[in-house]
C-alpha cells in the first residue's frame, strides 16, 4: 500500500469516523444523563422537544450557539480563550489511540506505549480548567481552578498506579495486547479487583464528577472554574468533560473488562474469532465494546444521583492516605504472585481472583445489616 495512505490518510479517516461517532454519543449523553437523573429522582427530565425529548440533543447546541458570548471586563484574554479549547485537543487525540474494535480496522494508530500516551494526554486536560479559572478574574473561578489542579494532580497518582498491576499481568503497554491477554485468560476486573476499584474512583475524580465535583461545587463556588463562561465556550467545557468521561470509560473497558472481546480462557469471542468473521465480526466487537463503555457511563450518572459531595480535605485524605497506599500494596501483591506464578508454574490470575473474591466477600460480610430491624409501629415498645 502507498505509505501515505497507510500512515496518514487511513488513520485520519478512522479518527474522523471515531470522532464523529464519539461526539454524537457525547451529545446524546447529556440527554441520557438528564433523563436518568429524572428517573432516579422520580421526575420527568427533558421530554418536550421531539419524541421522549430526544431532539433536546440538537436543541442544546443550537441554544449555546445563539447565546451571547460574554467576556468579563478584566479577563486575561488569551488564557480566557484557550481555557475551554485547550482540553479538547488532548481528549480528541486520545481517540486515535483507543481501539474501538479488533485491530487493524478499528484502531487509528496502534502504538506500543499506548497506555502511557493515553495517560499523558489525559493528564494535560487539567490546563483548560486551571487557565479558565485563572483568566476569568473571579475569586470563585480561581478557587475552582485551584481545587481542580490539586485534585487532578493528586488523583493522577492512584490513576496511574492502579494500571501497573494490569500491565504486570499482561506484560505490555499496548492496549490491543492487553485486551488479547484478557481474552486468553480472564477479565482483569477479577484478578485486579482493587485496582479496578481504585481506577474507577480515580477516574471519577479526574473528570471532576460527583462525588468529587469540588472544582465546580455549585453550593460553594457558584459554578467554579466556568462561572464566567457562557455560550459556546461553556459548551466546550462540557464537551471536554463528557469526552474525558467517555475516554476514561473506554480505558476502563479496555484495561479491566476485555475491551471488544467476550471470552474467557481463550474460549468465546476472542480477537481472532472476530477477525475471522470479517467486517460483521468487527462490528460485533465494536458493539460489545460500546455496550461495556455505556454501562460505565451509566454508572457515572448513577454515582451522580446517589452520592453527596466530599469535603476538600476528605478528598485529599482519600487520595493520599487510602488510594495511593492501596494501589501500591496491589502492585506489590500482584508482582509477587506473578513472579511466583512464573517460577512455580501456576496461574497467578486465578490466585489473585480468589483473593479478590475473598476481599469482596469479607467486605460484604462486614457490611451486612446488623441492627435488629424494628417496625415503626413498635418503636414505642422498644
Amino acid at each position: 500500500m502507498n505509505p501515505w495512505m497507510h500512515y496518514l490518510v487511513w488513520p485520519l479517516v478512522k479518527f474522523l469516523v471515531a470522532f464523529i461517532i464519539v461526539q454524537g454519543i457525547v451529545a446524546a449523553m447529556n440527554w441520557v444523563e438528564r433523563r436518568l437523573l429524572g428517573f432516579v429522582q422520580a421526575r420527568l427530565g427533558p421530554n418536550r422537544v421531539g419524541p421522549k425529548g430526544l431532539l433536546q440533543i440538537i436543541a442544546d447546541p443550537v441554544k449555546f450557539l445563539l447565546k451571547e458570548d460574554i467576556v468579563p471586563a478584566n479577563a486575561e484574554t488569551i488564557a480566557y480563550f484557550l481555557g475551554p479549547i485547550l482540553p479538547l485537543i488532548p481528549t480528541f487525540l486520545v481517540y486515535c489511540l483507543i481501539p474501538f474494535g479488533p485491530p487493524p480496522t478499528f484502531v487509528a494508530a496502534r502504538v506500543n506505549v499506548a497506555v502511557l500516551l493515553v495517560l499523558a494526554l489525559t493528564s494535560t486536560g487539567v490546563y483548560g480548567i486551571i487557565l479558565g479559572g485563572w483568566a476569568s478574574n473571579n475569586k470563585y473561578s480561581l478557587m475552582g481552578g485551584l481545587r481542580s489542579a490539586a485534585q487532578m494532580v493528586s488523583y493522577e497518582v492512584p490513576f496511574g498506579l492502579s494500571i501497573v498491576g494490569v500491565l504486570m499481568l499482561s506484560g505490555s503497554l499496548d492496549l490491543v495486547k492487553i485486551v488479547n491477554y484478557q481474552a486468553d485468560h480472564i477479565w482483569n476486573l477479577f484478578p485486579q479487583l482493587i485496582a479496578a476499584f481504585i481506577f474507577f474512583v480515580a477516574m471519577t475524580a479526574e473528570t471532576n464528577r460527583t462525588p468529587f465535583d469540588l472544582p465546580e461545587a455549585d453550593s460553594e463556588l457558584v459554578g467554579g472554574y466556568h462561572t464566567e463562561y457562557s455560550a459556546m465556550k461553556f459548551a466546550f467545557f462540557m464537551l471536554a468533560e463528557y469526552s474525558a468521561m467517555l475516554v476514561n470509560c473506554c480505558l476502563m473497558t479496555l484495561l479491566f473488562l476485555g475491551g471488544w472481546t467476550l471470552a474467557i480462557g481463550g474460549y468465546g469471542l476472542t480477537t481472532q474469532t472476530l477477525q475471522h468473521m470479517g467486517i460483521p465480526g468487527g462490528m460485533l466487537g465494536v458493539l460489545i465494546f460500546i455496550v461495556k463503555v455505556m454501562t460505565f457511563m451509566l454508572v457515572y450518572i448513577w454515582f451522580r444521583a446517589t452520592f453527596p459531595r466530599f469535603r476538600f480535605d476528605q478528598l485529599m485524605d482519600l487520595g493520599w492516605k487510602w488510594m495511593i497506599p492501596l494501589a501500591l500494596a496491589n502492585i506489590v501483591v500482584t508482582g509477587v504472585v506473578v513472579l511466583l506464578g512464573q517460577s512455580l508454574n501456576f496461574q497467578g490470575e486465578v490466585v489473585l481472583s480468589i483473593a479478590g473474591a475473598a476481599i469482596v466477600g469479607y467486605t460484604l460480610y462486614n457490611l451486612r445489616p446488623r441492627a435488629k430491624v424494628v417496625h415503626a409501629s413498635r418503636v414505642s415498645e422498644v
Binding site: L117, A120, L131, G145, A149, Q342
Partner: protein
C-alpha cells in the same frame, strides 16, 4: 530531505522559539504556557528519535505534573504581570553575549567531536527471556497449557525497564533516597514549628487551655 528531518526542523524551531518566549514573556502564566509548548515539542522530537517511551513520560511528568504545579503556584501568588521596571536590563547584553558564545562553542565543539559508535540495533533492542504459560493446540485438536521460554527482542519500554531495574538498579534506588530528601526539605522549610511550646493549634495546648479556663471559672464561682 526526509519526513523525519522535516518534522525535526519544524518542531525544533518551535521548541527553540517558545523557549525564548518563556524568558521573554512578562506574564508568568504566558511563560508557563510557552514552557508547556516547549515540553510538548521536545516530546515530539523524542518520538522522531524512536524514543516513544521517553516521549510519553516527558508529557506525563513534565506537562501533566510539573507544569500544573507551576501554574498552581503562579495562581496562588496571583501575579498578573511582572513589574515593568527593568531592573535587570543592564545585564542583558552580557547575558546574550555569553549565551551566544556558549552556543558557538557547543556548535563547533560538539558537532565536530567523534562519538563512540555502537551498533544502534544492538543497543536499542535487547534480547530478553520471558517465561509465560501459553496455550498450545496439539495435533489431535486438544488444547494443553505449556510453559514456554521465549527469547525475543524487546522494544522501547522494556529496554528502559531493563536498564533501570537491572543495570542501574542501585543508582535508581539512590535516586529514590534523593527524592525522599527533597521531600523532607520541602516539609522542613514549609511547616510551622510544631515543637514550639506556644503553638496554639496543638491539641495539647488547647486541652491545657480548656483546663485552665475551667480552673479559673471554679475559682471565680467559689
Amino acid at each position: 530531505m526526509n519526513a523525519a528531518f522535516l518534522v525535526f526542523f519544524v518542531v525544533g524551531t518551535i521548541a527553540v522559539a517558545s523557549s525564548i518566549l518563556v524568558v521573554a514573556m512578562r506574564n508568568p502564566v504566558h511563560s508557563a504556557l510557552f514552557l508547556l509548548l516547549t515540553f510538548l515539542c521536545v516530546a515530539i522530537l523524542f518520538v522522531v528519535k524512536d524514543a516513544e517511551f521517553v516521549a510519553a513520560v516527558q508529557v506525563l511528568v513534565y506537562a501533566g505534573g510539573i507544569m500544573v504545579l507551576f501554574l498552581f503556584v503562579v495562581m496562588l501568588i496571583n501575579v498578573r504581570h511582572l513589574p515593568d521596571d527593568r531592573t535587570l536590563s543592564r545585564f542583558w547584553k552580557g547575558g546574550v553575549g555569553v549565551g551566544l558564545a556558549i552556543f558557538l562553542l557547543l556548535a563547533t565543539v560538539v558537532r565536530t567531536g567523534t562519538y563512540h559508535d555502537q551498533n544502534p540495533n544492538k543497543k536499542l533492542l535487547r534480547s530478553t527471556a520471558s517465561h509465560r504459560v501459553r496455550k498450545v493446540t496439539n495435533p489431535d485438536g486438544s488444547v494443553t497449557r505449556k510453559r514456554v521460554v521465549r527469547h525475543r527482542t524487546v522494544g522501547n519500554s522494556e529496554a528502559v525497564g531493563m536498564a533501570l531495574y537491572q543495570d542501574y538498579l542501585v543508582p535508581f534506588e539512590v535516586a529514590s533516597l534523593f527524592l525522599l530528601v527533597a521531600m523532607i526539605g520541602a516539609i522542613v522549610i514549609g511547616k510551622r514549628e510544631l515543637s514550639a511550646p506556644e503553638e496554639e493549634t496543638s491539641p495539647d495546648f488547647i486541652l491545657k487551655r480548656m483546663e485552665t479556663e475551667k480552673d479559673v471559672k471554679e475559682a471565680m464561682s467559689a
